[in-house]
Symmetry: D2
Subunit: 293 residues, 4 copies
């Protein structure tokens, strides 16, 4: 029977991971837009992978279940790469929570019901999830363990609590990593593992558009001032994803791996600290890099 | 000129990482006890590495500076593996804070002053650092950026605040990861990177002793109930360390990588949740794994 | 100063290796046809790499020298991926020897004159080079060490000796691996390494065309009867290339790595053995796989 | 059911590969001397591996069959690391042929009969096998495919043909790589792969003894004049072995990977060329490295 890898949201990051773990397997490329799935299918098919496509709206459990059905008919699902989501510049807070938080929770639940023994998955979250201040232990637990269909009724996620898209995005991505922890426990009953990758600025066609768009200056400053001083490549995320999904990651499950060129470190303790924090009355702290020179 | 890798605390984890990144380089093995350094030197020398030994007490800046001097005389320091520390079953809260928290901060500061362009380091922390509840943003910043020699005067670290060794250990390990964030900013000025690895239960001779000692039953239960269902090997940490220190980790700095077989996930949201939390009046939550069965 | 990776013949195999070793470096994509270089540049630029293009005809030393000049102006040349060549279905014996054998020899010589300390290269040869019977030690040495500009005057390479394109191709690819041995000695004087990869059937758009073309049936039979039972992917070659060019390959130079799904093994000792050999009077040998069933 | 990795001849090279592919599996360590197996068992057990030991004399099919029985009782045999053998300084030509050539052939045959689907193996041969001049196609085929129990009756292996231990060793190691080709075909029927690694001078306690023994000067000269300029480490072989045995090697079977620091390249075309060849009347060729300076 075939072994199947499912990529939900097969942009360049999803593709880069798939390239590393799918030789000799069947790859299901599922996207909201058939056109995106087709583009990915062309690229990966030309690069020697056996592929098929599907459309999926991860905000719909029924839609996810249809992909699960497609995938399980094709063989044993050995891998899940959940890279679908909407970005804060694209959508309302409510849409972000519905797709990125609820949708990912359902994807993990449904694939966790059928993942094969020895299988593994990764969820692509974001450095944004690391930028949010600490939540309470109760909030963490609620994001991790509330049944998906009740998630969006949590008080902390109501419109009066989440008023802008960036905040919604940060909550959703934090929620992804927490959800992965709880699902790691459940996936282990089937002998499978699941982890989160939180990438920083990774160059893709979409990211290039943003870098030359209205918010581009901010992003370029973030890259220039970051410790590594450059953006990342999808293939660098691919290498990390391959480790997590393969035998070298066999002792890793429920973890969240930040790969961001040091942007988060600098945001908290370096030149990328927001102005209000750098000049805040309470701290008066010089960013670390400055202090040392 | 030679390239030098420095291993502070060269037990099996430090050795496993060193094995993967030190071929053709000179390895300095520095331990509190000359005997331990010699044992590691024998093993690595027999395995083809060019080694020398040193003694170091990382609770002393002067002692660390002596190792730095030894290392820089031998060549360009391309790598630092900081694996030294005391465990909660070995020492008092004050000793743990002095060695694991303060000592690591000084190690990072002193090696950050001389690390070579293109160099990289890893600090071995612990899953214990992930088990502590959230600190405030101010506490995080204090642990990350307070000058090392003022660290132990922080109010949060005083004996009335830190009364048991396990708490001290969790704080120290949390502090290591925070410190690494701040140092990632500073190391980047020299074109170098630094990350944290937080291992779970990794089998070493010391760990084997603990597994058969008075607290062994607790550890064995932790392993049995964990998602992966086994302890890790030093070589699994070595593989992760090699990724972080090598070119595949070039976009990763200031991050903390948890490799624990899912114990932390299960501690928060699975069968390893402490009883008080599982039966707590406020939550009445079934661990996730149970809920799904 | 920038670090530069040069890809000569940036088809999917060259790209796959480049993706794995070029993050944060500048990639020079040089092809006979500007259009091919541009296509590769689009793909890699969209995937986060800093690229420039050049045209090169590797049958011309002057043309190669121009690429060397372009590359060295951009920075230190840390990597060479020589993947240019013509295939036996595309060209005459003389063209194949001129491009694949002579051209590769000049590429290795010219880049070997400027490769940076710590640099590395790979030459993409072919399983075809492993299919040719043994040459004499003198022929091996001649292919390895004859100054490039005298190579094509060797008696063994004259038109009366090499009458078909496949034979020319096998000789050229055998010659590549031999040349790499000699150049490994010379590159080592600059602290650099060079190896050969001999891929089997790797799916690329060109390979897909051949699989559906007039010789397609033969190729498909080769794949079906091969030990691994499938074609390879460019990314699988990329992973091997990354090992050879990176620190994990530091003890490897002058070697030739066959990655062919077992086709060569089966050609000599299995179901893919040519009929004349299988029914040969001298041996009457059953292929190994059959014998065991 | 458990997954089992079998290491025959668990010296440092065998251990280094085992460390990389055996986490969570059971490792059978089989050596001619129980004491060697016990030493390896101590080391690997202390490093977190689940191990058992066996004695085996690979010159005896019965003895190999006993190990196979032990291993298959423990679980599915997913991996074979055949690193046992005698060296030319240790034994007579006949012993070398019996152990290194015949013994390895039987090991491959017996484990090839029971290797699990998805399994893989590596045989540790030697750079010495690359040093021998070309054999005829008939000799190659005879070494590859003659039933093991008839191997030692081949005319080419009779005492009048093989008069010194080094020649016997080179023949045996060449024979290993050829045998692996034929076995790759047979192993593929069970969905498994098998490859050869041909290491150069790798530092182990035994190698260190030789470097300081009567032939030490020759070895040290070989290292000093080699392209890489140093000996290799077992862990470098371990990394290559892990690639070949794991998913990244899925398209590689029946191949022979030379990892020798360039010694072979230099032996044929560099400073390590034997004097008789360098001053030979027929060639009068300067080694390549000299020629270029």
């Amino acid at each position: 029977m075939s072994e199947v890898i499912v990529v939900i949201g097969p942009g360049l990051i999803g593709q880069a991971i798939a390239r590393r773990v799918s030789a000799g397997k069947h790859v299901v490329l599922a996207d909201l837009h058939q056109e995106n799935a087709d583009t990915a299918a062309d690229i990966l098919s030309n690069a020697g992978f056996d592929v098929s496509t599907a459309t999926v709206d991860i905000s719909s459990r029924q839609s996810i279940q249809a992909v699960v059905k497609t995938a399980t008919k094709l063989g044993n699902v050995m891998g899940l790469i959940q890279a679908a989501g909407v970005s804060p510049s694209q959508a309302s807070p409510q849409t972000i929570l519905t797709v990125d938080l609820y949708g990912t929770a359902v994807v993990l639940e449904e694939f966790g019901n059928i993942i094969a023994r020895g299988g593994a998955g990764v969820v692509i979250a974001s450095q944004s999830g690391h930028r949010l201040g600490a939540l309470t232990a109760e909030q963490d637990a609620a994001l991790a363990m509330t049944p998906p269909d009740e998630l969006l009724t949590l008080p902390m996620l109501q419109p009066d609590q989440v008023t802008d898209s960036l905040h919604a995005y940060q909550l959703a991505k934090r929620g992804n990593a927490l959800r992965v922890m709880a699902e790691a426990v459940r996936w282990s009953k089937r002998g499978a593992r699941i982890n989160t990758i939180s990438p920083g600025i990774i160059i893709t066609p979409l990211a290039k558009d943003e870098l030359s768009g209205p918010r581009g200056e901010g992003y370029r400053r973030m890259i220039d001032l970051s410790p590594v001083g450059r953006a990342g490549t999808p293939d660098e995320v691919g290498t990390l994803g391959a480790l997590l999904m393969g035998p070298d990651g066999a002792f890793i499950t429920g973890s969240d791996f930040l790969i961001d060129g040091g942007v988060t470190a600098s945001y908290f303790y370096g030149e990328l600290a927001p102005n209000e924090r750098r000049s805040g009355s309470g701290q008066q702290r010089q960013p670390y890099g400055k202090a040392s020179s």
